[in-house]
Subunit: 300 residues, 2 copies
């Protein structure tokens, strides 16, 4: 069984590493903040002093951090994994970052004789805890086969999307669809409310048909209940939409819907902060309409 | 068993009336064009000379036409159903029309002692043939109970949405969600293509998760196969989006996403006509991006 190096014990990384430990993997871990590393060590992980230290003591190194700059820091920055990594091992990035940055970092590892996989995830904190994530992998097929047993501990759907960067591309496609479907839900709910019709009745009438979506089924009832606790936070959604818009801009490919949603989320962040759940997109549409979903109807 | 009057034997109305005949209902029918009426008569319907004639010979009168003006013509225009309808009967409009026009027409029937239901449908031609439509009903609950046995022949989901007009409101919510979900699919597919990743691989990776929707599952593979045959036609989708935007405008409720989709469909209609399927929305995004989903990838 490979010894797994783990870099980044955040809301996703911590339960993913825990599942590897529970399955019997040796895990050598590092995290930027000490408390979360202490917790992982208490759970059986071995403490490392830096990403380079992680890499020097592992067969496969997995990073799960937030943004492109974070990944560059732990991968190729001073004290980064590349300084300790062994030839013939695999570096896996499960963060959601720029496809272009991914290809740059992968090229640097390749020079050292190390294959890199981009393998961003979807499925949220619950999917990470349950080991049912969807893993979208880009990079050499042999490297994916090498780490597949570990991926199968963390996820239930593993897709090889193509060469380096293509896992990130597919993850951004996922975020494009998620966020524009979210807008669809928000406009249907606010129009319904302003028309004087009960939004719950509307949801039950349309959710199973051609208007249906995961967003409508899972977030629609939360909006009606005014529950804006995060499954996925607006601040992280905005980070991912910036990546999509940046990549699309580089390809001179206008994403007019995503761009609109990104602007509306800016209003949500200003008024309600970055830590509310993405279903708070509806609050931007409510602001335009001057009415909240779930209020007593006064006109329509 | 009530004798059912039927007005409008189009792509939806004809199979719905046929299902009533097959179940044993007497159906008195009229249609604007003679051939479709001839076909219904050959299938067992009784021929009427006008909507007023239909109404004078029926217990319940059902209209299934295209637009608000068509419904006004057959309901309250010269020779319309209101001229023949019996006190105590029910007038049912299964077309998708304006909620405001619905309330006006319902008020006129009410003056004659006739209850009106707005009961627009979703589920497409196949749902009409199979009797599995979703029926969204607005109007008096007693009137819905009166016609429920007939509705159960035509549909599998019957929702009482509230007072007159609320069935139309819920149908417009359905079209809002459908069309903005369609945009989500189009942008994900075109971004994927321009990034050099296989769109089918992307669809299989994201369709079952948080990005999933009926549109993505059912229309995504058609786009990849360049199949633009209509399930639902762009021209009819545009009619429904006009209704939604008009109703929203009356409520001073901006629908920024729907408005964007409506504009993009205008480009599709200009270039490809009103009779292509709604999945052709992707062609507007492809036009902006200068690439077609499913082409050999040249860059990314």
């Amino acid at each position: 069984m490979d010894t797994i190096g783990w870099i980044g014990l955040g809301i996703m990384g911590a339960p993913m590493a825990r599942n590897l430990l529970t399955t019997g993997y040796e895990v050598v871990a590092w995290n930027r903040s000490a408390e979360r590393l202490d917790a992982a060590v208490a759970g059986g992980a071995q403490r490392a002093a830096s990403p380079a230290d992680v890499a020097s003591r592992s067969d496969v190194v997995i990073a799960c951090v937030t943004a492109s700059a974070d990944l560059e820091a732990v991968a190729t920055g001073p004290g980064g994994a590349i300084e300790g990594i062994r030839e013939g091992s695999v570096f896996v990035d499960m963060s959601t970052i720029s496809p272009a940055v991914t290809r740059e970092v992968a090229a640097k590892f390749e020079e050292r004789g190390v294959a890199m996989l981009d393998a961003p995830i979807s499925g949220g904190e619950q999917g990470a805890i349950d080991g049912t994530l969807s893993i979208m992998a880009g990079g050499p097929a042999e490297a994916l086969e090498r780490v597949r047993p570990a991926f199968e501990v963390m996820g239930s759907t593993i897709t090889h999307c193509g060469p380096s960067g293509s896992g990130q591309t597919v993850k951004l496609c996922n975020q494009i669809a998620v966020s524009v479907n979210n807008l669809a839900m928000a406009e249907a709910l606010v129009f319904c409310q302003r028309s004087g019709v009960d939004p719950s009745t509307m949801l039950s009438a349309i959710t199973q048909g051609a208007a249906g979506s995961w967003q409508l089924s899972n977030l629609g009832p939360k909006v009606v209940a005014r529950d804006f606790a995060p499954g996925f936070k607006v601040g992280l959604q905005q980070k991912d939409l910036r990546l999509a818009l940046e990549a699309a801009d580089g390809l001179r490919t206008p994403l007019v819907g995503v761009s609109l949603v990104h602007q509306l989320f800016a209003a949500v962040e200003r008024a309600h902060g970055a830590d509310v759940g993405t279903q708070a997109l509806v609050r931007a549409i409510e602001g335009l309409a001057g009415a909240e979903v779930g209020e007593a109807n006064e006109d329509g």
